[in-house]
Symmetry: C2
């Protein structure tokens, strides 16, 4: 089954980082006004805010608070930094609870001064260490496998198979996985690993954007859906066939789009969502 | 078994692109003078040259001509371009034969306007189409799996498992595989796939450099061995344990190093080779 076009915006979520020039009040007002139904909040957008009131403000605008981004960054060669990371992740769980969302996305981290295997072990230990807090807060810890070009410092979990292995090993209802097309589109095993992820009840989030050719920056040159080579709609059909019924989250880091007037950019997002995802 | 330090340079090969500011005569003279024993020639270094005489010149400097870089780029949505690519690959095989090397490295290609699966099929068809010429010339077609960040335009073969699958499917003594640490270091299955590659007689080449943190350019910011996070020596031990006994080829694309005085850079390469690979 190939996914059909989006006739409405009922499953559209936008990340605050996507429209980074807007503060969270502007994002809420503009997302809501444009018909967007979900918002994923990046922690930087909450700095200096009363988090409970901010969550209420978002809901008052009719927005579902899909998730908080991001926890993670567990691996460090230095034990003190690992302890600090666990404390910061517990804080992030608390923030997610205050915000009123049930999902915390984990960018798991990596330390280039130690082997990937060691970073992966520290990720698993780190998640296990914060599971009691996640359960108490009703917040699902959502592992996001990152593109292999981020294996040095951002994540030692670089394929959906690895994320599936880890989620299955942790074996908790408070652990899930975020499938992001930007990170995973190239993987020849993607369809089968999405099926496995859904079958095992771990498919918690779906992030969309596109890979531009050429891509001029390793981090900040993501494209709108349809601008690049990722078969977003095909991957969405795999995710939906695997039982996923949640939001399609637009997560775009782009210096070029951040320089644009953001209301016009939001219109482009909605057009791209309806026609290319 | 962990690989030991390099006490000599008998297995050191340098790619002409690594010292791009030098023409091939300068590269030959300087490599030879520094004790380098092998050279891999990029086709741009042969432009306007008599290729037979150039091969003889390299051998006169005591250099083994390890391989010619590069053929490939088979996939195109346009049939005429696919036909042109096959013609160009036959020309590259002829050039390799004239140069007196027995290996042609393939950067297999990808067309972002079609699905990866289609590009992969076209790669397989392209290699099959040129196998008779490779056999007649005694030139091994060496598939180089490329990092997933190049899946849009440079190669739809992005893991060693995929390259192994393709080489085994083609099942020819004239097909091999190049293991490049830059492209493959992040892969959790790397050790087992290197073993499989060696066991099946397909491990033809080993390329080294390093992944810098941060990496500021998707193509032209590779590091010297020891400058980054790739466990080059550990991967070399896997390659040697799998039966590989050929050259260690230093392949670095770096705007920063190309701006340096190249004799000094060559000294750094040799130091890095002896101490970090």
């Amino acid at each position: 089954m190939i996914a059909t076009e989006h006739s409405d915006l009922s499953k559209l979520c936008v990340h605050t980082i996507t429209t980074k020039p807007w503060n969270i009040e502007e994002a809420a007002r503009n997302f809501s006004g444009a018909g967007v139904k979900g918002i994923t909040v990046w922690r930087d957008a909450l700095e200096g805010k009363d988090i409970r009131k901010t969550g209420q403000m978002l809901r008052d605008h009719g927005l579902s608070v899909v998730s908080l981004c991001r926890g993670g960054f567990f691996p460090h060669r230095d034990q003190i930094k690992r302890t600090d990371a666990i404390a910061d992740n517990k804080k992030a769980i608390e923030e997610a609870w205050q915000l009123g969302t049930t999902m915390l996305v984990l960018v798991c981290g990596a330390d280039p001064s130690q082997p990937l295997e060691e970073s992966r072990k520290q990720i698993r230990d780190g998640i296990a260490a914060i599971l009691p807090e996640a359960e108490a807060a009703g917040v699902k810890l959502t592992i996001e496998p990152l593109h292999p070009m981020y294996a040095d410092t951002r994540s030692a979990i670089n394929t959906l198979a690895q994320a599936n292995d880890m989620a299955e090993a942790l074996d908790s209802p408070w652990v899930g996985i975020a499938v992001d097309v930007y990170h995973l589109w190239w993987d020849p095993h993607l369809e089968q690993e999405i099926k496995r992820c859904g079958t095992n009840g771990n498919l918690s989030a779906f992030h969309i954007c596109d890979w531009k050719s050429p891509t001029t920056d390793l981090l900040l040159d993501r494209g709108l859906m349809g601008e690049g080579c990722i078969p977003v709609r095909k991957i969405r059909s795999w995710v939906e066939n695997a039982g996923f019924n949640g939001f399609n989250e637009v997560e775009i880091f782009s210096n070029a789009y951040w320089r644009e007037e953001q209301s016009g950019f939001l219109k482009k997002i909605i057009h791209a969502y309806q026609n290319h995802s």
